[in-house]
Symmetry: C2
Subunit: 452 residues, 2 copies
């Protein structure tokens, strides 16, 4: 029945089971839903039905539900289910999701939440929270299956079967030695094909691709993308296996990092989404805008230095927005290419030299095309050949400078270990504005006697 | 030995085995490498060693290697291994990767490549290529395991074991009825836990999350991200199971789509990476720049309409770059928030109303802050209170307009089924430039008698 019901029908049916207190019918539906669907269902439920809904959910399902909600909603649910069940639910949650939930809460709140948990589970979470944010240590889970190198294939399969329910992935078994050091990996598929009596050390891969606890999460995502793995083992400095990072979490990382790049490139401020309050969003966006305001004043200061030139030829003003707009835009274009390229390319001297040369030629080609075009337009519009020449040559030069700046500045920042996206958006806008105004008015002032 | 060798050492060792014609030693190393590593190795190898390297590789490994290379290199390899082996290698390749390779080749080239393949395999590829680009049909693979609903758990496990080597994922078995229609899914983990004699129809999920062949690949990626699945089944209009889309391909989709958004938002032109030739990059970037050039002329035209005002108060020019820069930037900020938000949110009237109201308040707050700030700066700099007021009020208004435009325009485009990212970057820049100039000079002209 359920496979053909729409979301709305399911919600109505669930409300009916809640009203009539029919837990069995409720469970029949819930059995067919994915955690994401259960979360959607919960969020769509009228508030008055939510307490019984939560009461009807098993501890397992509550843990699944929590993992799909945002932090605000998570705390709301925990509040509603009471302290005792909270402890049990947190025990069931994935450690990495729990660490994310606790992150940024007050120490008292954290202590109160952890107090209801099993000692062993809460210890693991506290360990995870000690790793720096956005590292492999933070996103790893301890729900993996390990085997010893002397196991037979048969013994390994037996162990996997026992832990299948508990493990996040059954695709790989990680092989450790007596010191818990990672020495190999074997896929479950390989086990199915191998002879039962073979030794694990004979069938395993020994060249294991692994991350360390402090590896940047973006780097881990890159490994998964390159190798098409479903999980990556995470080790500490002594090569002791600490956990695994799974592909479902890494997809979230890829999306988060792409959003961060877009936020930085558009200077739109940290993490604003559809649910952010207006006041918070304005507060996060203002720093860049105020910076830009002062940059604008700086540009104004430069223009005021050429006040005399401007008074003589007001028509120079007409081309100002075009020149600074074009220079800014060509810089942003180069910037976007370089920032995204830095993610997927290995960077060395050869690559950098080739890239800078390429951008120079791009600037040259773009500058020539647009410079000639605007010369002609300016000449026919204002009927002044010298003005056309001044505007054309200025645009030609500023486009080359703008293109190069957009490529070179992020590379320098990358070299200095500063995230290129964060600093270069506004930085390039500033520099390109200043370059373009100085070039334009400088050239115009040189030719001022021919312009009037 | 190999687990501790660096990439360089491996390359040198491989060259040695090639020179000395030691295929056995070669295979020992290759057994431990991942496809990505083999591709890196191949690309780092001096050209003279490449033919024997390819000769030493098995057909399976050649297929793996091809899947990691870009199109240019793929064709190079196929050329080197000759027609007969090409057919065998293409038979082994994943259909979706092969379809991608053939895409955009000339019909003669495609025919020549397919001619060496098995009829059944080449037919599948040709079918895939008939689906529109960037749909589920294009990225699905036929390497999945299906079972019938009347199977026992034991029979299903047996079948999976037989097809384990062939399947892309062993995590899920898809359940079909006698008409090959998708009726359920069961995870291999569930099978391990279930009793061997239970019937599949009793243990399977019936509410299957599936994509159709024409579902946009971005939507499929979103499903995988939401549900944390490792694969999504793909059906045709009659619900017949055609293939599966796997998470490794969908990670690539997520990255590709994020890059496309960045390209469009920064108007940097389609697919420029570090390897793009200067001429091609310039050609791809020019359309936007030329568009911007004409927008710039349009702005110039507006300014020229206020020539008299400008001649009387040249100082008005000083604040032009600031006002248009700020308006453009606040628009881009809103745009970025909305474009990324559209990906992960369900859009309905309630959400849209809330969002537009939110952005209006953001614009108000930002406008008030920056407007007051610039009024004071302009007053102290130019010693003219009316000028300060004109600049402040203008900025206040343009920031509200700019913020709203950045939110409303992508929403309208989304409603009209136009990709909001592509059109709004340049569109918002234009409109905001025009709004801000008209507002600024309009207000200035109203107060011109007090300004001089």
């Amino acid at each position: 029945m359920i496979q053909n019901m729409t979301e709305n029908q399911i919600t109505l049916y669930i409300i009916k089971t809640l009203k009539e207190n029919k837990k069995k019918d409720f469970d029949v539906i819930l059995d067919e839903l994915q955690p994401y669907d259960i979360a959607q269902l919960y969020e769509n439920l009228p508030e008055k039905h939510q307490p019984r809904f939560l009461l009807f959910l098993s501890v397992d399902r509550l843990a699944d539900l929590l993992e799909e909600l945002n932090k605000e909603k998570q705390l709301e649910v925990l509040n509603k289910i009471g302290k005792e069940r909270t402890g049990k639910v947190l025990d069931e949650m994935d450690n990495d999701d729990l660490a994310l939930l606790l992150d940024e809460l007050s120490p008292e709140k954290i202590a109160s939440l952890l107090s209801g948990m099993k000692k062993s589970e809460s210890q693991i979470v506290q360990d995870i929270m000690n790793y720096p944010p956005e590292t492999a240590g933070r996103i790893m889970t301890n729900r993996f299956v390990w085997i010893r190198d002397y196991y037979s294939v048969k013994a390994a399969v037996e162990k996997l079967k026992i832990f299948a329910e508990y493990a996040e992935t059954i695709n790989y078994l990680y092989v450790i030695d007596q010191h818990r050091k990672l020495v190999g990996v074997v896929s479950y598929r390989d086990l199915l094909i191998a002879e039962p009596h073979e030794k694990i050390s004979d069938v395993m891969y020994e060249r294991v691709i692994a991350a360390t606890v402090t590896t940047d999460q973006e780097e881990v995502a890159r490994m998964v993308e390159r190798y098409d793995f479903l999980a990556i083992p995470v080790v500490n400095e002594e090569n002791v296996l600490m956990g695994i990072a799974t592909v479902d979490d890494l997809i979230d990382v890829v999306i988060q990092e792409a959003n961060e790049d877009i936020e930085k490139l558009s200077a739109s401020g940290k993490s604003i989404d559809f649910d952010t309050k207006a006041f918070v969003a304005a507060y996060r966006r203002l720093p860049w805008l105020i910076l830009l305001l002062f940059i604008g004043i700086l540009s104004g200061g430069i223009i005021s230095g050429y006040e005399q030139t401007l008074e003589q030829v007001v028509a120079l003003t007409f081309f100002m927005p075009m020149i600074s707009g074009m220079t800014g835009n060509t810089g942003t274009q180069s910037l976007a290419v370089v920032v995204r390229g830095l993610i997927s390319n290995d960077i060395n001297k050869k690559v950098v030299t080739k890239l800078i040369l390429r951008e120079f030629f791009v600037g040259l080609l773009i500058g020539l095309t647009c410079g000639i075009l605007i010369s002609l337009i300016a000449y026919f519009w204002q009927g002044n050949a010298v003005l056309g020449l001044v505007v054309g040559v200025s645009l030609f030069l500023t486009l080359i400078i703008g293109t190069l700046a957009g490529a070179v500045i992020p590379l320098i920042l990358y070299r200095l270990n500063i995230d290129p996206a964060i600093a270069s958006g506004p930085l390039i806008t500033t520099l390109n504005d200043i370059f373009s105004l100085i070039t334009y008015f400088g050239i115009a002032t040189m030719f001022i006697s021919y312009l009037t």
